[in-house]
Point group: C2
Chain length 771, copies 2
């Protein structure tokens, strides 16, 4: 780790600016907002996984006193939506067909929730039931029920990647491993459910309050679905109570609220019930990954092949991009000279998936990192050694064209292993063991492929008292980015944190923005903030030169809200320079900066070859577990999470991100996941789809490896998603180390372990009997 300069704000352990309001309950969320004359909306959803809509009768609902609007598809613009570049195929309200249990058919707005619920019960829909299919492997078979007329075998997309000579690699391999891994659909489980309020004025301008991580994206999508120009839709984002990727793209409820409000002529609020959250809001895609790896006797990875089958669910959203990401993690984690992947997207009559923390990474890593241990065992190598031997390194260009600007993977592996007590604990007696797993993820969003860009624009103003206002398009959704961005501005301008404010919640004012996703805000917006602050600093320095009557070569230090002339005892207050700019230069100190990362190797849209991220985040997690032989229950005793963060702008918040990620990773490993029966999600609440609570967290330690990324602001890179990704495979490997049982399907529930333990015991019994 290089020597750091003496930073004033960077690297400081500062609490999130809003932490106290969260803890005390002072923080207000959208459901706390009530507009005058506001109505309450509810959605009528299909009880069938696949059916034709023959007739909808809303007359009884409409005549219920207190009901102000009932809408069906005919009240909408019938614009299909989803995430480009795939074909949009979701309607706010379906007109002809429903394709999963929970699909939107009609909606009501009434004077209170009770009336709205009652009205739902009065809507009559006549369906013609169709055969349904829920398993993607079945849906791919000839003769399976066809969910879309124009889509044979229910496969809307297949995307192949091929780098190096994979056949040659396998031919040269001493060993070849083939395994199939499965992961379930994971609901985001934000504590705050999806909520929105739509309100039109007499000109047809829409004000839309919504809990989202991407107000600009909502504005754009609503514009398309409602057929209203973007300037006439104002999206206001209140404090967000959890998002995790799940609040980055509109749900049908969003335009539904607007259509209800339009028809009723009154504002309408929609809030998902917890059951709707679990059954209709898009989760992390369920995948089946068939993974084949060829290695040399001495443990060099020579070739890898993967088929990634993604259960798209009933409608398109982000399956293409996410499955590609799963593919490329498989091809780029570790130095693998030859790899090819195929991503296959499959429609089924189930809830559809979407963005969720990790964006295809958790699935990929569960497969790759589970198999790495299998390989190591076969080779008689320590799994840690196998990983270190193949680890990516700073300066690498991968066969896929990725430029690894900074990489602390080896350090993370070594430090996580050391801290967990790797050497001592690999051979513990009893059903106790340790496991380790690596992680490769973006540390900075994407490189701006798919024509979407990956920029951030930031506005900065210096008030006349020297305080600073930042205006950004990216949302702090709980991760603390406002605090981090303030620290960056504080470092550049020498203004204390309590004199810096970030504003970001209103599309009428904020710069165009890509939103908060892909672990990008610290890197992308952080760079933009740094640029804007440096611009303001130059303006203030120009004033300081005039006030202090010094030449153009004078140099200044900005410390404690003062501008100090270097090599002298002279200084002036920032407020003095700020006022001088207004009074003498005729303009206030304001700055506007746009950062888009440079890319020396832009992706080729055809082959996919090229660099996808401005920088990559690496890490490693080690887990120690104990398995109860009677119940099969896994107790996680400790987790060590070592992450390469480039430079921790705020170690306290980085640790918070890691702790939260590990909690989600443990849930992914051990108990989360939608369980469906006949297309119906049966565990639609926190009792049956348990998430980890604070008291259930194991002892854990976070290790921050600072590789000083060359492109990051103050050398930082993102840490939003990586902490989640390595946890499940680390636990799976620890379970194997403890029990000798390898579970290849998440979650690793007691019943699966118990079954495998019994099989193993019987097999051992058999074999010892035979001997």
């Amino acid at each position: 780790m290089a020597t750091n300069p003496a930073y004033s704000a960077i690297g400081k352990r500062l609490p999130k600016q809003d932490s106290e309001s969260l803890v005390t309950g002072e923080a207000k969320y959208l459901d706390d907002l009530k507009l005058p004359g506001m109505l309450y909306g509810r959605i009528f959803r299909s009880p069938h996984p696949h059916a034709l809509i023959k007739r909808i009768n809303t007359a009884a609902a409409e005549s219920l006193p207190g009901v102000k609007a009932v809408i069906t598809a005919d009240d909408t613009e019938k614009v299909k939506f989803c995430h480009l570049p795939v074909t949009p195929n979701k309607l706010a309200l379906n007109d002809e067909k429903v394709r999963f249990v929970g699909d939107e058919v009609a909606a009501v707005a009434a004077v209170d929730w009770e009336t709205a619920d009652k009205a739902l019960g009065l809507i009559e829909v006549e369906y013609e039931l169709l055969p349904a299919v829920f398993d993607p492997l079945e849906a791919m078979q000839p003769g399976a029920p066809q969910i879309y007329e124009d889509c044979d075998n229910n496969i809307p997309a297949r995307i192949a990647r091929n780098f190096g000579d994979v056949d040659k690699g396998f031919a040269e391999a001493d060993y070849i491993f083939e395994d199939t891994y499965k992961t379930p659909l994971i609901p985001a489980c934000s504590i705050e459910p999806h909520c929105c309020i739509a309100s039109f004025d007499h000109l047809g301008n829409l004000t839309f309050w919504v809990s989202t991580q991407n107000p600009n994206n909502y504005q754009k999508a609503l514009s398309q679905v409602l057929k209203i120009p973007q300037n006439r839709i104002r999206v206001i984002r209140p404090k967000v109570g959890g998002a995790f990727g799940n609040k980055s793209v509109i749900l049908p409820m969003d335009p539904i609220a607007a259509f209800l409000a339009k028809k009723a002529g009154q504002p309408v609020k929609l809030v998902n019930s917890r059951e709707e959250e679990f059954t209709t809001t898009r989760g992390r895609y369920a995948m089946v990954i068939q993974l084949k790896t060829g290695v040399s006797r001495d443990g060099k990875l020579l070739a890898r092949e993967a088929k990634v089958i993604t259960n798209n669910g009933a409608y398109n959203n982000k399956a293409t991009g996410i499955s590609l990401l799963t593919s490329n993690r498989i091809g780029n984690l570790y130095r693998i000279p030859n790899s090819r992947t195929e991503a296959i997207i499959v429609y089924t009559n189930t809830q559809y998936g979407g963005a969720m923390r990790g964006w295809g990474g958790p699935q990929a890593h569960f497969a790759v990192e589970s198999q790495m241990d299998t390989i190591a065992e076969k080779l008689g190598m320590d799994p840690l050694e196998l990983r270190l031997k193949n680890a990516n390194q700073t300066g690498d260009t991968t066969p896929w064209g990725w430029l690894i600007a900074s990489c602390g993977l080896s350090e993370c592996l070594e430090q996580a292993a050391e801290k967990i007590g790797w050497q001592e604990k690999r051979n513990l007696s009893g059903l106790r063991g340790v496991g380790i797993a690596s992680v490769l993820h973006t540390g900075s969003g994407s490189a701006g492929t798919h024509g979407a860009g990956n920029f951030s624009e930031v506005l900065l103003k210096v008030y006349s008292d020297g305080a600073v206002g930042l205006i950004v398009g990216e949302s702090d959704i709980g991760q603390g980015s406002d605090t981090v961005l303030s620290q960056i501005a504080s470092e550049v301008l020498g203004v204390p944190l309590n004199k810096i404010t970030v504003a970001s919640e209103d599309t009428n004012f904020t710069p165009p923005s890509m939103g908060t996703w892909g672990s990008k805000v610290t890197f992308i917006s952080g760079n933009a903030v740094k640029m804007a602050a440096e611009d303001a600093r130059l303006q203030l320095a120009a004033a300081a030169k005039r006030i202090l009557e010094v030449g153009d070569d004078a140099r200044f230090a900005f410390v404690d809200s003062r501008i100090h002339l270097e090599g002298s005892g002279q200084s002036i207050g920032i407020e003095e320079a700020s006022n001088y700019c207004v009074q003498k230069f005729g303009k206030p100190v304001t700055a506007k900066a746009v950062y888009e990362p440079p890319n020396a190797n832009p992706p080729d849209p055809k082959t996919g070859f090229g660099n996808y991220c401005p920088t990559y985040a690496f890490g490693a997690q080690a887990a120690e577990v104990e398995v109860d032989p009677e119940t099969g229950r896994v107790k996680v005793l400790r987790i060590v999470a070592a992450h390469d963060v480039g430079k921790a702008i705020n170690p306290l918040l980085v640790e918070g991100q890691i702790q939260g990620g590990v909690a989600q990773g443990m849930g992914y490993a051990l108990f989360e996941g939608a369980r469906e029966k006949d297309g119906r999600v049966v565990n639609d609440n926190f009792t049956t789809n348990k998430i980890l609570n604070a008291t259930e967290m194991p002892w854990m330690e976070e290790i921050l490896v600072e590789t000083l990324d060359p492109h990051g602001p103050f050398n930082a890179k993102g840490i939003g998603e990586p902490p989640l990704i390595a946890t499940a495979p680390a636990i799976a490997n620890a379970v194997y180390n403890a029990t000798g049982v390898r579970i290849k399907e998440l979650p690793i529930t007691p019943d699966k372990i118990l079954r495998e333990l019994i099989i193993k015991r019987e097999a051992e019994g058999c074999s010892s009997e035979k001997e």
Copy 2:
């Protein structure tokens, strides 16, 4: 008038974007906003004009159930405030002394208005009464009660100006005229009274909703008075129901709301009662103007001298600047080679004055334009001829250093006279007559003297669908500036008006701003919008060149949301170019522009010599009146208002400004004005301080003279204040023309006319008897 290019948006008669919501009552004002847990505040005010505070007992009020906070000066930071550069001497709550009836002493916040009112009645204050003085001429005398210890003769400021050789001018004059004119304090009479809501979060951040024309100024002032950094105060401005300069600077109620909210730990709303509006909110300064003018026999103005005595009231606000403006209007309307003025500010124990539409112009013009008719009569000249002979002209530099970039004064005089039927009606029989008056005002705010600057910063973004968002710091307070600014952007970018939105109401987001005042928004912000739009246009053109594969010298026309390559049939949509910028240039189409007007002749702070406005607005109004000989009542039959607006961006809105100005000018002429008895305003409601309503308006005609100002955006200049200024003297002159009675003190009430008519009749009787 020069030939105009074929504009698509400029010059169009478009209704204000929010007009329908105003007419239907859909528009929400601040008093419509209710926050959870919000309390209602009331202010305890002094019943005495001058007294020492000996003791305040709030115990009974505090113990009243429902009362959540009672505050006195000890609960405040005791920071004195006002408008710089004069000495701040107003406290939010007085600790030692009260200086006018209505002065703030204590305040309460309670769960409802009734409880708050009741609590006010329980506050006991013991005063030691002091002798008071209400008339500025008396207050200036030796021995008058002294309102401030450190201020002899109650005169805090005296400012003299002297250009040319006035004594020589008088010596050369054939006639010298000396008259004294008086104008009363005019309350702003906004239909929406002052209203604010203060709400703190746990970090001590203040959100402050307030009906204001200058949110940034409130943020700054509150920061000083509350001792909170500016970034931690968020000022949000809802729709404003009238402001007229009166909502540009904080009132004591604003920090009082914040101190109450702080003490109570709950949000607090304060709304002025109508009585408080009339008695405590600062009106247009009452002045006494002693005017002396020397003219040659043939009607050339040779010298002018004025003493402007301003009743400052009890506390400092804007008297210095306003009295200087009164002075300089006297010296610069018409070509006068020699002039000197003295402005004298005098404390009295009355309500203090502040900014109010016209900023010293109405007082100056009443004096000058009344005397012009007196001069003309003496010379046997047509008053119109006298004015035309001395009128300012385009290209003039006045002896005070003003640069007259464009001037339509002569055209306005001629057209107003022609339209009123000047020649025919000057000698009507009966008590009927016509009068005319000129106006000189700023058309663009100030030139940035007093170190305050006169800039506007504008942000502009082009959405991905080609819609446009403007973000400005200046507020549309009913005058329609949002519509005008949208038209300017529309003209540059070829985007229709319904795809352009202006956002301006939130200091967390808006650029630093000087606010809305001085008839400046069209000129100053309009120029900034034009610059920003031109910047965006260049960015879009750069994309268009790449998309259409044409060279750098390609030229484009932006029409109907499309970018047309000139000399070809090719075009692309603006949305296509906007998206291209994101996808290929890596940055959205956004622009930031700051406009501060150039000034070739900046004012000398010592002598005052120099140019004060980027451009000047001229105009003339003619009035026809009939006076009832029995009652003395004046009936205004018609008003013709001709105004040089440079170029009317939106003639409909310009006419609206003129109509509103004339209505206020007629009130100023005939019935408005605070009447005080022992320092107490006795006409504190709309019954006794009548303002004109729509049905009482006379027939009127607006004439827009377009001189095409060289600096204005699309050659426009401001029209906010000028229409008010000429009305009162035009009516006074018409009254004289009708009756032969010259009223030199506003308002021209029936009793004054009647008294003068009687005196005149008696004098005529006497003289005829004598003959």
